[in-house]
C-alpha cells in the first residue's frame, strides 16, 4: 500500500497532473456556477477532452477536479442566486441564500468553502482507509459475484428513488441495459439490434448518450424557462471572514456530516443529494431549541451541514467505482465510461495493477479540495462575473459544446443526429419525470453485467451458479429485497395512516 501511495504521490504531483487538477477545479467552478448545468453535464462535456489526453491518470484527475469544482460552483449559485445548479446543492440554498440576502454572502461562501474542503478531505482520508480494505475482499469475487453485485447496485438505484418513482427508475435502468445490447458485443462477435445500420454496428456511443440525456435537456430547459437562467439579483460579495465562535460552532457539524455523508455516498444510488438533505435534517433535529429556529433563515450550521455532507458523499461515491468498478451515481457512471474508453478496468485489481491511477486520484482529491479553498475562495467575486453572461450567448454555446463533444468523440456527423434524437427523447422523458441517471448507469454496466452473466452461465453450465455460490445467492436476495423495499415502506406508511 505504501509503495502504491508513493507512486500515486509522484503521479499526482507531476506538473502535468497538477495542471489538470487546477484546471479541472477552475473549469468546474466556472461552469458549475451556471444555473442548470450540473456536474454530470459538465463532466459529459469535458470527457472528449479528457479522453484525448490519452493518459488515464491525467484524465481521471481532470474529471475529478471538474467534479469538485462543479459542486463548489453549484453551491455558489445556490448561495448568491438561490438557483442550485444541481439537486445536491438545493439544501445549501436553504440557509445560504438568506445569509446572502442579509448581506453576508462573503461569509456564506467562506463557510461553504471550508465545509466543502473539510468534507472532501475527511472523505478522502476515509476513502484511503476503506477502499483498500474493500478491494482486498473484492479480490475473492468471481464473475458470478460480480454479476450479483451489479444487480445489487442497479436495484439500490430503484430503492433510493423517490415516492412513485421506483418503477420509473427500474424501467430506465432496463432501457439503459437494452441500449447496451445494441451493436457487436465483445463476447459473441455478432451484431444485435442494429437494424442493418452501419452506424449502430459499434453500438451507441457513451459520450453521445451522456450528452444527450444530461447536457442537451438542461440547455432545452433553459430555453423553455428563461427565469432559470436569469441572474439579475446577484448579491455583492464583500467580507469573506468568519469569527472564531462561528468556526467553533460549525466544527462538530463538519465532523459529523463528513462521516455520515461519506457512508451515504458509498451506497449505490444514494449520493450527494440524499446526503445533503439528510445532513441538513439531522443537524436541524439535534440543534438546541434556540438554534433550531434559525434553520432556513440563515443558520451557519444549516449551511455547513449540507455542504460538508455533499462533498463527503462525492468522495464516498468513488469507493464502489474504484474498488468494484460499479458506479453508484450518474456522475461516477460517466467517470467509469471515461475509464473504459481509456482501456482501464476499474475493480479490485486497479489498486495493485494500476496504483498510479488509483492513488493519484485519491491524492488529487486532497489537492483539489485545497485548490478550491485557497484559489477559488479569493477569486469567487471575479468568477461570479460569469453569472452576468446573457443567456442569448450562453445557451447557443452550451448546445455547441454538446454537439462538438459528441463529434470529437466519434468524428462522425451521423452521431450528431443520434445525439439530437436521443436528446429530444430524453427531454420529453424528463418532462414526464423519468429519472435519467439510472438509464446511463444501466447502459454503462450493461456490457459488464452481460459478460459476467454469460461467463457464469458457461462455467456452471446454466443458472446453477446461483445455487452453487452462496455469496451470489445472498447478493441476489439483497437485490430482491432492495427492489421490494420501497413498496414495503409504502405499505407500512399506508397502514400507519
Amino acid at each position: 500500500m505504501l509503495e502504491g501511495l508513493l507512486i500515486g504521490l509522484e503521479t499526482a504531483f507531476s506538473l502535468k497532473n497538477l495542471f489538470m487538477v487546477v484546471g479541472g477545479c477552475i473549469i468546474g467552478t466556472f461552469i458549475g456556477m451556471l444555473p442548470g448545468l450540473g456536474p454530470m453535464s459538465i463532466i459529459a462535456i469535458m470527457i472528449p477532452v479528457a479522453i484525448t489526453l490519452g493518459d488515464p491518470a491525467a484524465a481521471l484527475i481532470l474529471l475529478a477536479g471538474v467534479y469538485y469544482g462543479a459542486i463548489f460552483g453549484g453551491s455558489t449559485s445556490s448561495i448568491l442566486l438561490n438557483a442550485p445548479g444541481v439537486a445536491g446543492t438545493v439544501a445549501t440554498s436553504f440557509d445560504g441564500y438568506p445569509m446572502a440576502k442579509a448581506g453576508m454572502a462573503g461569509k456564506a461562501l467562506t463557510i461553504a468553502a471550508i465545509s466543502s474542503f473539510a468534507g472532501g478531505t475527511i472523505g478522502a482520508i476515509l476513502l484511503m482507509i476503506f477502499a483498500p480494505a474493500l478491494s482486498s475482499v473484492a479480490l475473492f469475487f468471481h464473475s458470478a459475484e460480480y454479476f450479483a453485485l451489479m444487480i445489487v447496485g442497479l436495484s439500490a438505484i430503484a430503492a433510493f428513488a423517490g415516492t412513485g418513482q421506483v418503477s420509473k427508475a427500474i424501467l430506465m435502468t432496463l432501457l439503459g441495459l437494452m441500449m447496451a445490447t445494441v451493436g457487436e458485443g465483445a463476447l459473441y462477435n455478432m451484431p444485435r439490434f442494429t437494424m442493418g445500420l452501419m452506424d449502430l454496428q459499434s453500438g451507441f456511443s457513451f459520450i453521445t448518450l451522456a450528452m444527450a440525456i444530461f447536457a442537451l435537456p438542461e440547455a432545452i430547459f433553459l430555453v423553455l424557462n428563461p427565469a432559470r437562467a436569469s441572474h439579475s439579483e446577484s448579491n455583492k460579495i464583500e467580507n469573506l471572514r468568519i469569527t472564531k465562535e462561528e468556526a467553533k460552532s460549525i466544527a462538530p457539524v463538519i465532523g459529523r456530516q463528513s462521516v455520515q455523508g461519506f457512508f451515504i455516498g458509498v451506497l449505490p444510488g444514494a449520493g450527494a443529494t440524499i446526503a445533503s438533505f439528510l445532513g441538513y435534517a439531522v443537524e436541524r433535529n439535534i440543534a438546541p431549541a434556540h438554534e433550531k429556529k434559525d434553520f432556513g433563515k440563515g443558520s451557519i450550521k444549516g449551511l455547513a451541514a449540507p455542504e460538508t455532507a455533499n462533498n463527503a458523499a462525492c468522495t464516498g461515491s468513488f469507493v464502489p467505482l474504484l474498488t468494484l468498478g460499479i458506479p453508484g451515481s450518474g456522475t461516477t457512471a460517466i467517470l467509469l465510461g471515461a475509464l473504459i474508453a481509456l482501456n482501464v478496468s476499474p475493480g479490485p485489481r486497479l489498486m495493485t495493477d494500476e496504483p498510479q491511477i488509483f492513488w493519484a486520484v485519491i491524492i488529487s482529491m486532497y489537492i483539489g479540495n485545497l485548490i478550491l479553498l485557497i484559489l477559488n475562495l479569493p477569486l469567487i467575486p471575479y468568477i461570479a462575473k460569469i453569472l452576468t453572461i446573457p443567456r442569448t450567448f450562453l445557451i447557443p454555446f452550451i448546445l455547441f459544446f454538446t454537439l462538438m463533444g459528441s463529434y470529437i468523440g466519434q468524428n462522425n456527423a451521423t452521431e450528431l443526429l443520434i445525439l439530437v434524437g436521443l436528446g429530444v427523447c430524453a427531454t420529453i422523458m424528463r418532462l414526464a419525470n423519468y429519472p435519467m441517471a439510472p438509464l446511463l448507469i444501466g447502459f454503462i454496466l450493461g456490457q459488464m453485467l452481460e459478460d459476467n452473466f454469460s461467463r457464469s452461465m458457461q462455467l456452471y453450465d446454466g443458472i446453477n451458479f446461483i445455487m452453487e455460490r452462496p455469496m451470489t445467492m445472498v447478493l441476489l436476495f439483497l437485490a430482491a429485497f432492495l427492489v421490494i423495499l420501497p413498496y414495503l415502506r409504502l405499505a407500512k406508511s399506508k397502514k400507519a395512516s
Binding site: 477532452v49 484525448t52 423517490g162 415516492t163 412513485g164 418513482q165 418503477s167 420509473k168 427500474i170 424501467l171 432496463l174 432501457l175 437494452m178 445490447t181 463476447l187 459473441y188 455478432m190 444485435r192 439490434f193 440547455a219 432545452i220 430547459f221 430555453v223 423553455l224 424557462n225 446573457p390 443567456r391 442569448t392 450567448f393 445557451i395 447557443p396 454555446f397 448546445l399 455547441f400 454537439l403 462538438m404 463529434y407 470529437i408 468524428n411 456527423a413 450528431l416 443526429l417 445525439l419 439530437v420 436528446g423 429530444v424 422523458m429 424528463r430 418532462l431 414526464a432 419525470n433 423519468y434 453485467l449 452481460e450 452473466f453 454469460s454 452461465m457 458457461q458 446454466g462 413498496y487
Partner: protein
C-alpha cells in the same frame, strides 16, 4: 391517461419489438457449435425484454401510485405552451441542420451560422457583437480541436 403512462406505453412498444427480435429473429444466425452453449447471444436480451414489458405495463396500469399532483419537474408539461416552446423547437432544428451541414459547408460557416442564428432567436439583437463572438469562438475552437487535440475538422466547404 397521464403523460408518464403514455411514455411507458411507448417504451412498452419498444420492449415488445425488442423482445420479438430477441425471441424470433436472433437465434437463426447462430452457428451450430454455439447452439450447444448454455447461454446464447439472445439470452440476456430475452430477460431484459420480459422485465421491461412487466415494468412498463405496471406503470401503464398505475400499480405504483404517485401521490404528488405536481409531476415533480420544474417544467409543467400541462402548461408547455406557456413556456418558450417555439425557440426551443427552433434550436433543436438548428442542431439537426448543424449536424447535416457540418461536413458539406465546413466548420466555420456552419458554426458561425449556428451560433449567430441561435443567439438571434433567443433575443440577442446586437448583430455585430453576436457575429464577432460567433466568429472568434469558432476560430478558437477550431484551432484547439485541430491543432491542439489533433482531430481533423474541415474548416471550409467541400468545394475548397
Amino acid at each position: 391517461m397521464s403523460f408518464d403512462r403514455w411514455i411507458a406505453l411507448v417504451i412498452l412498444s419498444i420492449s415488445l419489438i425488442y423482445s420479438y427480435a430477441a425471441f424470433f429473429t436472433m437465434d437463426h444466425l447462430l452457428p451450430p457449435f454455439m447452439q450447444r452453449n448454455p447461454v446464447w447471444p439472445s439470452t440476456f436480451p430475452k430477460i431484459l425484454g420480459i422485465l421491461s414489458i412487466i415494468v412498463s405495463s405496471s406503470i401503464i396500469l398505475g400499480l405504483e401510485k404517485n401521490k404528488h399532483k405536481n409531476n415533480g419537474t420544474e417544467i409543467d408539461y400541462r402548461r408547455i405552451f406557456d413556456y418558450n416552446l417555439g425557440p426551443a423547437i427552433f434550436l433543436v432544428i438548428m442542431m439537426a441542420l448543424y449536424a447535416i451541414t457540418l461536413r458539406p459547408l465546413g466548420f466555420f460557416i456552419s458554426t458561425i451560422t449556428f451560433l449567430a442564428v441561435s443567439g438571434y432567436v433567443l433575443g440577442e439583437r446586437k448583430i455585430i457583437i453576436l457575429f464577432f463572438v460567433a466568429a472568434s469562438a469558432s476560430f478558437i475552437i477550431w484551432y484547439l480541436v485541430e491543432q491542439v487535440l489533433g482531430i481533423y475538422l474541415r474548416p471550409l466547404p467541400t468545394i475548397f
